[in-house]
């Protein structure tokens, strides 16, 4: 099993763009994207059920950052590959997918590759499906329930109006929605063990990828502007009677 994980700036902190490069500022401490904790947990549970196997991680991040990877290792993953290369700054989703696909191949592939439906900071939401296409694998995106029975993958896949039941031969790739499983908290023992688990650090050229960054991204940022702000409204403390304010508001709009 291989899980693609992203290490992102703390979502609780306000995001900012680097004025010189127009990329998201990602130079501080990075953490494991919450969206990816579900995939890590799913992989660990499937390995448990199968009675054997191993969960590996692949991640692309600047500045050889591993703190998010260590969180996933503390949850129970066995090892990781980190691709960190200044030349990758400004890479688009397709380049990211090419880098991760090459790292997956370097690990010898997997029966099942898991990603999140989208990251919490960039949310392009295309990388897992692009990895599947690059590796020639079938994929089931937006998985909300996953099991493997007799070597066949069974997935409930979220749709606009409900869900589809999907079956698929392995090897395959899935992207999992938040809430698919309840991610475990790393135990103290897990956190200590994670410190000595192997994380191989490689560059884009180690993987045979010509780094492209902004130059090869097929897109350039032409301007950044502030959106029109909403007018400040009336904010009042509830004194037990504020429901009448809401009734009045609805009356003014003639909906009641």
């Amino acid at each position: 099993m291989i899980v693609c994980v992203k290490q992102i700036p703390d979502p609780a902190a306000p995001g900012a763009l680097d004025g010189a490069t127009n990329t998201l500022k990602r130079d501080g401490k990075l953490i494991l994207d919450d969206s990816d904790a579900y995939g890590v947990e799913m992989a660990l549970q499937l390995v448990d059920k199968a009675g054997g196997g191993e969960v590996s991680l692949v991640s692309m991040a600047p500045n050889n950052e591993t703190s998010g990877l260590r969180t996933a290792l503390a949850m129970g993953a066995a090892k990781g590959v980190l691709i960190s290369d200044p030349a990758l700054q400004g890479s688009d989703a397709l380049t990211t997918a090419k880098v991760l696909a090459a790292a997956i191949t370097r690990l010898g592939g997997a029966d099942l590759i898991i990603g999140a439906t989208e990251s919490s900071d960039g949310y392009t939401g295309t990388v897992p499906e692009q990895i599947a296409e690059l590796l020639g694998l079938p994929s089931v995106t937006f998985a909300k329930k996953v099991s493997v029975e007799g070597g066949v993958l069974k997935v409930d896949r979220q749709t606009e109006n409900g869900y589809d039941e999907v079956t698929c031969a392995l090897p395959a790739l899935i992207s999992v929605t938040a809430g698919v499983v309840e991610p475990r908290y790393p135990s103290f023992k897990g956190i200590m063990a994670a410190k000595s688990k192997p994380v191989e650090e490689v560059t884009a050229s180690d993987l045979g990828i010509t780094p492209v960054g902004w130059a090869g991204a097929g897109q350039k940022i032409s301007s950044i502007a502030e959106a029109e702000a909403r007018q400040a409204g009336e904010i009042i403390e509830d004194d037990g009677e504020t429901f009448t304010k809401i009734v009045g508001f609805l009356e003014n709009l003639k909906v009641i």
């Binding site: 397709l94 296409e133 020639g136 897109q219 502007a225 959106a227 509830d238 429901f243 909906v255």
Partner: protein, 320 residues
């Protein structure tokens, strides 16, 4: 750059093109007179697609295969056959994302997702993407040769009929997908909802973690029903399993722009704000007066939803 040949990834639900499809066709025809709709299945919707501006339809019957891999492979065969679009517009949803991801690899072209606008000017084709919860707008220009692949959020454009004639339908077969085509749909489940659809309702009442427990969501449903609106939810309570995913408003859920949006016990995470900031009037009830939701509220009540909502519901019931 002039966009001569635009494709729109179209979708049909209950026999009619989806609202997102009609929005994209309307925008596409303002950029070019040569608009092709791509549809999974047959060409039965050709009249409606033509009415909104499509002159041609590529109908791709993908059977039980998931649409992403199958439609992308069929489109690649059309492009290899000589019909190369300058731009392909996708709706920002499940199928749209899957098709554009697979196609981006086949064409080795970048994708730009989550857009709300597109222009074709002297400097090239530029899309506008809101970031940081919609507080900042980034304009990005495609470089190099097309096809350019872009996905747009629902309700980015206003759908208007062009009164066009039915589009000409060409059936495109799906090439052999090999191992990549192994995923097959074996059953389809539709979650029944009553009342107006969440993304079309004029009034939306949404609940969040401030409700405290799943049972309290009944207040949200009661209020929505009294106002003839639709109930919605924040990602937090969907992830917690209180309500189905189809109730979710936000980045990963539905985008709503109702006349009135009432947020009960929702703090206003970026994830959520992206999906409701375009509402005409916003009422928020939250215990935390620092909650970001108050930054966009026209009327904000700093208080406990368990105290405010029951009184509001009683008052509305008393009016009959």
């Amino acid at each position: 750059m002039t966009l001569n040949n635009i494709w729109v990834f179209a979708q049909v639900a209950n026999g009619a093109p989806t609202s997102a499809t009609l929005e994209l066709l309307t925008k596409a025809r303002s950029l070019s007179s040569n608009v092709t709709a791509i549809i999974g299945g047959d060409g039965a919707s050709a009249a409606a697609l033509g009415e909104f501006g499509a002159t041609k339809v590529y109908a791709i019957n993908h059977g039980a295969s998931l649409p992403g891999v199958a439609i992308a492979a069929a489109l690649k065969s059309v492009i290899d056959g000589g019909d190369t679009p300058d731009l392909i517009m996708f709706p920002q949803n499940y199928e749209g994302r899957d098709v554009m991801s697979r196609l981006s690899v086949k064409l080795d072209k970048t994708v730009i997702t989550n857009n709300i606008d597109i222009t074709d000017g002297g400097d090239g084709v530029t899309v506008v993407t809101p970031i940081f919860g919609g507080n900042t707008l980034v304009s990005t220009t495609f470089t190099g040769a097309g096809p350019f692949l872009a996905a747009f959020r629902p309700k980015s454009f206003v759908a208007e009929s062009a009164g066009g004639a039915a589009a000409a339908v060409t059936a495109v077969s799906v090439p052999d997908l090999g191992a990549a085509g192994a995923a097959q749909v074996t059953a389809v489940h539709v979650e029944e909802t009553t009342g107006p659809k969440l993304d079309e309702a004029d009034i939306v009442v949404s609940g969040g973690r401030g409700l405290g427990e799943a049972a309290s969501y009944a207040m949200v449903e009661d209020l929505a029903k009294l106002l003839k609106g639709a109930p919605g939810a924040s990602r937090a309570i969907v992830d917690a399993g209180w309500v189905p995913y189809s109730y979710q408003v936000g980045q990963t859920g539905k985008v709503v722009k109702p006349t009135i949006y009432l947020a009960a016990g929702i703090s206003g995470a970026t994830q959520h704000m992206v999906g409701m900031k375009g509402s005409k009037n916003i009422i928020a009830i939250n215990k935390d007066k620092e909650a970001p939701i108050f930054g966009v509220a026209d009327l904000g009540i700093v208080g406990d939803v368990h105290k405010v909502l029951p009184k509001l519901i009683e008052a509305l019931k008393a009016r009959g």
